[in-house]
Symmetry: D2
Subunit: 345 residues, 4 copies
Amino acid sequence: MLKVGIVGASGYTGVELTRLLVNHPGVELVVATSRQHAGRKLSDVYPNLRGLTDLVCEDVVLEQLVDRADLFFTAVPHQTAMNIVPAFLEAGKKVVDLSADFRIDDASVYEAWYQTHIAQEYLAEAVYGLPELNRVAIAKARLVANPGCYPTSIILGLAPLLKHRIIDAGTIIADCKSGTSGAGRGAKQATLYCEVTEGFKAYSVGSHRHTPEIEQEIAKLAGNPVKMSFTPHLVPMVRGILSTVYGTLLKDVSQQEVDEMYQDFYRDEKFVRPCSPGTFPATQFVRGSNYCDIGLHVDTRTKRIVVVSAIDNLVKGAAGQAVQNMNLVLGFEESMGLHVVPLFP
Amino acid sequence: MLKVGIVGASGYTGVELTRLLVNHPGVELVVATSRQHAGRKLSDVYPNLRGLTDLVCEDVVLEQLVDRADLFFTAVPHQTAMNIVPAFLEAGKKVVDLSADFRIDDASVYEAWYQTHIAQEYLAEAVYGLPELNRVAIAKARLVANPGCYPTSIILGLAPLLKHRIIDAGTIIADCKSGTSGAGRGAKQATLYCEVTEGFKAYSVGSHRHTPEIEQEIAKLAGNPVKMSFTPHLVPMVRGILSTVYGTLLKDVSQQEVDEMYQDFYRDEKFVRPCSPGTFPATQFVRGSNYCDIGLHVDTRTKRIVVVSAIDNLVKGAAGQAVQNMNLVLGFEESMGLHVVPLFP
Amino acid sequence: MLKVGIVGASGYTGVELTRLLVNHPGVELVVATSRQHAGRKLSDVYPNLRGLTDLVCEDVVLEQLVDRADLFFTAVPHQTAMNIVPAFLEAGKKVVDLSADFRIDDASVYEAWYQTHIAQEYLAEAVYGLPELNRVAIAKARLVANPGCYPTSIILGLAPLLKHRIIDAGTIIADCKSGTSGAGRGAKQATLYCEVTEGFKAYSVGSHRHTPEIEQEIAKLAGNPVKMSFTPHLVPMVRGILSTVYGTLLKDVSQQEVDEMYQDFYRDEKFVRPCSPGTFPATQFVRGSNYCDIGLHVDTRTKRIVVVSAIDNLVKGAAGQAVQNMNLVLGFEESMGLHVVPLFP
Amino acid sequence: MLKVGIVGASGYTGVELTRLLVNHPGVELVVATSRQHAGRKLSDVYPNLRGLTDLVCEDVVLEQLVDRADLFFTAVPHQTAMNIVPAFLEAGKKVVDLSADFRIDDASVYEAWYQTHIAQEYLAEAVYGLPELNRVAIAKARLVANPGCYPTSIILGLAPLLKHRIIDAGTIIADCKSGTSGAGRGAKQATLYCEVTEGFKAYSVGSHRHTPEIEQEIAKLAGNPVKMSFTPHLVPMVRGILSTVYGTLLKDVSQQEVDEMYQDFYRDEKFVRPCSPGTFPATQFVRGSNYCDIGLHVDTRTKRIVVVSAIDNLVKGAAGQAVQNMNLVLGFEESMGLHVVPLFP
């Protein structure tokens, strides 16, 4: 069994990684760090894990950590990641980084949206970890930049259209809705139950940091630079992202042609499920799983296409995709440990 | 005291009308019909009303109803409304109709999206009941077509931009999110708690019946015919609609100019609250009230503007606006009985 | 118009007091304090209040506050209240205190469950503010100790049974369930949306601080000291307390006798609604209102009675009852400003 | 691979059985019946199952069904079960029946709470399927009566206390709270999202049909007949039962003694997790899993003990326990296919 560790195990992404890894047949989870909870059993921090792991959270002491596993998941905030990832790489370890720090190819773009980047020398080799598009490169990588949750849903939703030049990439509007688990387990007034439930709002309108990541990957698919509108919203639910993406058609195309295009494009993918023609996804049908469900509507009235994609932000949008990337990096079958049936109801 | 009646009192719109009318200082609610619950006390059907009304639901027998009140709210499904509204008008009564039957000016458009219209002779005199835009006409009307919930949020959100020719009406995309109360109290699997909670989905993509209503009113504001994209979504909450509306700018305009434009446009409106610059609405802050809150983002990167508007679909999107229209029709102060503070948390 | 102020306006009880007071015909809300938000408009802290109040939160400077209103609501935590209430009383003002500091008659009991009491000299004159039982004394009081939310629901539920010696007070078990608004607006991990939604738990089992308050009031009704079991639970909802209370019957009594006993006992009460025989309350039917709904089941199999009572914890359990007390203290009609119809759905 | 079938696959218990069985290493799910959805793919009825099963729902034609599998789960309503279970048994098949029809030993008790029993000849051999108490008998059974959800949580919570004669069984009060999935997927007004969310209520007070089942099993543990109070409540959540159970102590016992008693009693159980001393369970930490978590409070003030137990009603309260029983009946390791980590958040 290969050994893996989680740096930042006490966030929601951390517990989700743990959920998937304790049942993974190919690896053993041997390290879980949490500055806040150092010394506590991880199963006291997350009682759902009682009986499933004996790990005790430990502080992050890089020199003591680097030798204890073959691969590390860094589930820490951006800026923190760039401070610790290099140590693992220099020790010859593989890293799947769940932060934004290694997703943006161009350091100046990163710095315009985030802050100074102090580990730019690793940007060139970091591979954007969307297996459906970058499978081969991921398998050879030692540093995988696990995609953001919103970008995952949008890019998987648009890839066939962009590759086949069906829509004008300059007209893309992505109106996205996310559950609150994306905001993390830190105590904040804005994510209290009483503030979130039975309410709906937009946030970071025109300014969300996933924008350059989405534009970068769309540009690669479209073959030229792209600016797009991206508006995230907060849904009163824990898990799930549903992205409704609009684009203007470049040519006449029928509903049936587009449906078949998606069926073809994703035929061999285990985790992308194009919906039956005329049906659309719902986040509750991917909950807890690594699936991305996609529905399509060709609107001949307005000459636009509407793509609706749904993922569980903590799974395909974070921990599940990270395990999928780990499988590729470590040479396992890509879906190993990810056969989780969506929990409905 | 003038007398009013509700035809269709046992739906969510009906109970909401009752909530507002039992405390209204100018009218007395004297009739509540419900085919399904005829003979039951309305407060048994809706226990929140216990101690507040003694009304007993009665069956709809038009000839017995028409003389018992001065104004009737018809809170019944489309197609049913067109069968009963004429009787009230012919008896010299005023009607605020909450269905879609008298909202579409052009019968052929109505018939393309709904079904045969059997009371077309009333279409010309029916006034579209959005008081902020049609106040004078409503005050003279005997038949007010109370707007749909989605149209209310979209039209109030866009009106200043369209009147001032700031955006290209042909580029409008309205991505809208609604609570489940809009689906009514009828028992349907799709709106069971277990199906809705902790999930999010789009529905009626490209085909929702509010589309022609929105296009009709936008066309009036824009001065020419318009086709727009409208995608409704179902939010796991009871009340509230949040509409995120995108349009391409026709000219350079600053954030400050647009903010001031909205402040000016809605300066004397009691029920429209433009947000402070840089802030955006949330449905939980209009819950239970007749307010429409509007936030704005001028996106110079993409040359688009993003308008976010929020209402309570059962109040400003239905019963509250109906009472506002009633006030105008009956000559009361427009906000009478509508001083309900939004219930938060 | 008499003037009133709220000390501690930025908590959920504070915004709820504001909601009720801005529409109250007899008083003007002139002061709102909040240490955390001093200098901010209250309507920025609570955007639901936009357009309804221009109050700016101010810091608590007692000497500057005491003369500015006739009555003050102290909506602050226990221990804080005892530090500020005396200043208002000494300035000749009336106080409705929403904390626990003046609810317990016996300082030693208070100190056993809370901490040292530094204003014991006011305990004797403080009146326990449950109007249905203490109306006359409240009207004469200058200091009203507004009851806790759980105690309100339990005591109103049990009062007729205890007064009529129907149950053995020593057998009382109160199993209570509350929404999360009772935990306040402070940022705490335990009340994050993701921690609370779709979950249910007990808390403070056998140790909740409302226990001595409930026992004190039950003892007064029963005529002798009482120990009872009280278990609070956290419901994934914002508002509402439902208490299920069990007691062993001291004598044979029929369902009908008990139903009539409650109808008689609460016949003239505007805010207590005994349910129709065979029906039971639900918190959603009192939401936003000052009602307490009560249902009863005489269980001849087990010789026990089950009382189920429901209130909105922020209204009858806090702000609404405080306004009811204010009305009594200031000589207004007891229900003034409290004609709020429960918001359902 | 042994073959299994589900009769009644389109209810929430059916989809949950499917979720567990499609990943079970020892059996193949080969039949799924649903009168309502006959001819539809099960994954169209439950889109979470897309890509995981190709089963098509079929009508229930007993003679065609009985030979197609080795064991059948009957996930149908009571009264329906008694009509179909005998056919499977007579064909030499094993049955795990999830209805109430074979849980009550005494037909007259069954008939007093339900209706006429037409398959009484099978009552004697049906084994009550609570593996933690009846493991040996279950392994030999051909008909297992899978316990009700409430009874499972209550009985597991009380078993150590009753076996060790710590409490007076005549004083037991079980105040239980359940998510709404227990009410099934049928369209009913009472379980609509708008009726359930943000509300809490008791139901079937003093009359719920699980009462005789609980009393029967408690009596076996206590060694004499028992009458107890049982009050179920509806929580605005999908999954989970939390039972708060009160009993009067027969003798002095310390918190530590009771904690150790539970640790001992459940030491070898894979699916019962006594909480750490001083902590209590929450339904969100068992969600989706087969665990039963139990917390304890010895209340020396009132001479009572409070037991709090939590399960997922669809798993340990239905489908998971059914698979656990299947494993015993078919000779598999008892936890096979049930290593599902609770999904939190």
